[in-house]
């Protein structure tokens, strides 16, 4: 079993921040995708934070791609958070998806969030 990937989400003012952690591979991609779909249904802005993701394979990338397309279809903004030295960022870079996705170094919002995520 993969290090069970966990999903947490925050809703605030129409923005959903989904924090994924653990290992994302083809075994849990399907489950995660359902959970994500459910969490972002009514959101205006979608943020998926991959800071705590320790493994991300092509299946995970495909998931991100699908979420991105779906958000666009629903007029939702979609941002991926992956700090520069994080594993997720490296994988996204290798896969050449930095053009396709909007990748941020840190979650949007207050400085406190940045401190928390980089200090975590």
């Amino acid at each position: 079993m993969a290090d069970p990937a966990r999903l947490e989400s925050d809703h605030e003012d129409g923005r959903v921040v989904i924090r994924l952690s653990g290992e994302i591979d083809l075994t849990n991609v399907g489950r995660l995708e359902e959970q994500i779909e459910g969490a972002i249904a009514d959101a205006r802005d979608v943020v998926i934070d991959l800071t705590e993701v320790h493994f991300l394979d092509s299946g995970g990338l495909r998931l991100l791609s699908r979420v991105s397309t779906g958000a666009a279809d629903h007029n939702q903004s979609f941002v991926v958070v992956a700090p520069p030295d994080s594993i997720a960022r490296s994988v996204i870079d290798i896969a050449g998806m930095t053009g396709e996705l909007i990748v941020r170094d840190a979650p949007p919002g207050a400085r406190t969030e940045i401190e928390r995520s980089t200090g975590g």
Binding site: M1, D25, T27, S58, G59, S90, A95
Partner: protein, 689 residues
């Protein structure tokens, strides 16, 4: 003239006696004894038989004779037949202490001790008969009452007419001689008693080797009589009759001792009834003050029974040792534990000088949590009981190990076992639990020497913490402690027979062990134990057993990774964990690890998704070799038939990642399956941390 008057009196008494004839050839000289009296008593029988009185013209000659008497060193005394002292020379004064004036005219009896007065009667009676008394040894008294050993020579004095008128006496002081004789007699008596009463055979030979004397024991114990053995060459005496070789040894003994050298040898000898026995034989030269050999002194102690007893004891000890060695071999591990993650090697040697076997042991066993228990112990004592006690302790330890919370508690439990079983009085033990994956060693020691660690870099350290007293059945609380070792380290457990030497401080011995261990740190493990034993000089001086257990922490540096697993998605996480673990052990940094793990995962994920769509489920096989410091060659193989699914774009992502991360990427599909090969040399774009 006073002498003349008393002389007349004596003549009267002499007349009453018979009249023996003085001998013709008696010359007057000293024997006459009475210088001045000789004027009257001087007698010479002329050749024609007539007795004539000498003319006063002889006075010169007589005066000369008087001077001779005075000069004599013997006391010369004359007396009348009633015992009255008539003359007294200077030596008499010297010997007896009386001056001439004091004693002339008194009775000779004043010189005679009370208990010997009867001697004088006897002497006088014989004198009257004309008898001479020669060298009569007796005791007389000095003026101050001191008894004196003397020798008397007494002769009668004749007057011209042939009558005995008195006696002259020569008194020789023999006290010095008597003392010497008494001392000699005492020495002889002592010698005799020693000679005959000591428990050894003894004899005296002359320097030619003839037997002159022999003691009672040598005869009685062997059944010989004196006449059977004396006065012949010693080598021809019946004790040695049974062998020409032995006779030759005796001849040699005589020659050697006659030359002044002691001879000593255990030899066979024969008793009268024909029994052959063994004697611890010696021939001593007896020398005088000048160092000249005067006698030869053979001695012997029968050692026949002692030799028999020693032989029997030797046989018994050899038998016991055989049993103990056999038992100990049976009690030691038949085969040492084998595990892929630690290398183990052990050696046991019994003490070489000692007849008995000690109670040393070693052991290595699996624990249920995957760790390894290691131990070396030493039961006090030797022989069968020590070997048996050792077996019990070893077995108990193996049984208790899994149930103890740690090494300290295990030793406490072992102590309790010792108390219950009474197997032995005490033992020393060291016990270590090694986790091969983390290289953490938990250990405790009950009075045992510290374990030695040598890192691959050759740095030595002693695991000398957690010491408690030896096991002795009273179970004090025993501490334990841990140490973190480097992968590839060598750990050595040993018994004190390996290091302890007489005349060497323990610290020096331990230094030698550390030096030797540094040298073998990289040797094949099976050579390590033997090399240590040889290097530490465990040879002729060692009396104790040696047990050595050498452990090399691994895993053994593997340069090849191999894993085969069912092609199922849920296997992939375990694959990644296994890969990471292996790469950690190879000390590969994070960026390269992540690149490798992702690349291999993608290849395996492909096989999981596509290889067995149309066939029975099968396996995926990963082989990875480290081809250089930071370079790996990978083969991912499946045994199905590649059947693509999903969109090209989807598939492309995985392949795209692989191509980005790797070099020399190839994929080859045949009917037997698909092989993906690639090389990963860089961790880019991954980062540390």
């Amino acid at each position: 003239m006073a002498e003349g008057r008393s002389h007349d009196g004596d003549i009267e008494s002499a007349e009453a006696e018979s009249k023996p004839t003085p001998p013709a050839d008696r010359s007057v000289g000293a024997r006459d004894g009475a210088g001045r009296d000789a004027l009257v008593s001087h007698v010479r029988r002329r050749p024609d038989g007539a007795i004539g009185r000498e003319a006063p013209l002889e006075a010169e000659r007589i005066a000369h004779l008087a001077a001779v008497v005075e000069a004599s060193s013997d006391a010369i005394v004359s007396k009348s037949l009633t015992g009255t002292i008539r003359s007294w020379n200077a030596s008499a004064t010297r010997i007896f202490g009386y001056t001439e004036d004091e004693i002339v005219g008194r009775s000779i009896r004043v010189l005679i001790p009370e208990e010997r007065q009867a001697e004088e009667d006897e002497i006088l009676s014989r004198l009257r008969q004309g008898e001479y008394i020669e060298h009569y040894e007796t005791v007389r008294l000095t003026k101050d009452g001191r008894p004196l050993d003397v020798s008397l020579s007494i002769s009668p004095i004749w007057d011209p007419s042939g009558r005995i008128i008195g006696a002259s006496k020569i008194v020789r002081d023999i006290s010095a001689r008597k003392q010497a004789e008494d001392a000699l007699a005492a020495a002889n008596a002592k010698f005799e008693s020693v000679f005959n009463q000591s428990g050894i055979f003894a004899g005296i030979l002359d320097t030619e080797g003839n037997l002159r004397d022999v003691n009672v024991l040598a005869l009685d114990a062997c059944g010989y009589r004196r006449e059977d053995v004396l006065d012949r060459p010693f080598w021809e005496t019946p004790w040695w009759r049974g062998s020409e070789d032995v006779k030759e040894r005796i001849r040699l003994a005589v020659r050697q001792a006659a030359a002044g050298d002691l001879f000593r040898e255990a030899l066979p000898y024969w008793t009268a009834d024909g029994s052959r026995r063994i004697v611890d034989f010696a021939m001593h030269p007896i020398v005088d003050e000048a160092g000249v050999v005067r006698f030869l002194h053979p001695t012997g102690i029968d050692i026949t029974d002692r030799l028999k007893a020693e032989e029997a004891l030797r046989k018994l000890e050899a038998e016991e040792r055989k049993i103990a060695v056999g038992l100990q071999r049976a009690l030691l591990p038949a085969r040492l534990l084998e595990r892929p993650d630690v290398q183990l090697s052990a050696l046991y040697e019994a003490g070489s000088d000692v007849l008995e076997v000690g109670g040393d042991w070693y052991d290595a066993f699996d624990l249920s949590d995957g760790r390894v228990g290691l131990t070396v112990g030493d039961v006090v004592g030797h022989g069968l009981s020590a070997a048996a006690a050792m077996g019990q302790l070893r077995t108990a330890m193996g049984a208790l190990a899994d149930h103890a919370t740690g090494p300290g508690q295990l030793l406490e439990r072992l102590d309790a076992f010792l108390a219950r079983s009474g197997a032995t009085d005490f033992a020393t033990v060291c016990y270590a639990v090694v986790d091969p994956r983390t290289c953490v060693v938990e250990y405790a020691s009950a009075g045992h020497l510290p374990m030695l660690v040598v890192s691959q870099g050759g740095v030595t350290a002693w695991l000398d913490g957690a010491q408690s007293p030896p096991l002795f059945g009273h179970c004090p609380a025993r501490p334990q402690t841990s140490a973190l070792l480097e992968p590839g380290s060598l750990l050595v457990l040993y018994s004190d027979g390996l290091v302890e030497r007489r005349h060497e401080r323990l610290d020096d011995s331990l230094d030698r062990l550390a030096a030797a261990a540094r040298d073998v740190a990289d040797s094949p493990l099976e050579d390590v134990c033997r090399t240590l034993v040889v290097r530490l000089g465990v040879d002729e001086t060692r009396a104790d057993d040696v047990a050595v257990l050498a452990v090399r922490l691994g895993p053994v540096r593997q340069t090849r990774y191999h894993r085969r697993f069912p092609a199922r998605a849920d296997e992939l996480a375990q694959l990644r964990a296994s890969l990471r673990g292996w790469l950690d052990d190879q000390a590969i940094g994070q960026p390269l690890q992540q690149a490798l793990v992702l690349a291999v995962h993608e290849a395996c994920a492909n096989a999981v998704e596509h290889a067995y769509r149309l066939t029975e489920p099968g396996d995926v096989q990963v082989d990875m070799t480290q081809s250089a410091d930071h370079e790996f060659l990978v083969e991912v193989r499946d045994f199905g038939r590649f059947q693509p699914s999903g969109s090209r774009e989807d598939r492309g992502r995985g392949t795209g990642i692989m191509r980005q991360l790797t070099a020399d990427f190839s994929r080859e599909s045949t009917s037997a399956g698909t092989v993906v090969r690639f090389r990963v040399a860089s961790g880019e774009p991954f980062h540390d941390g």
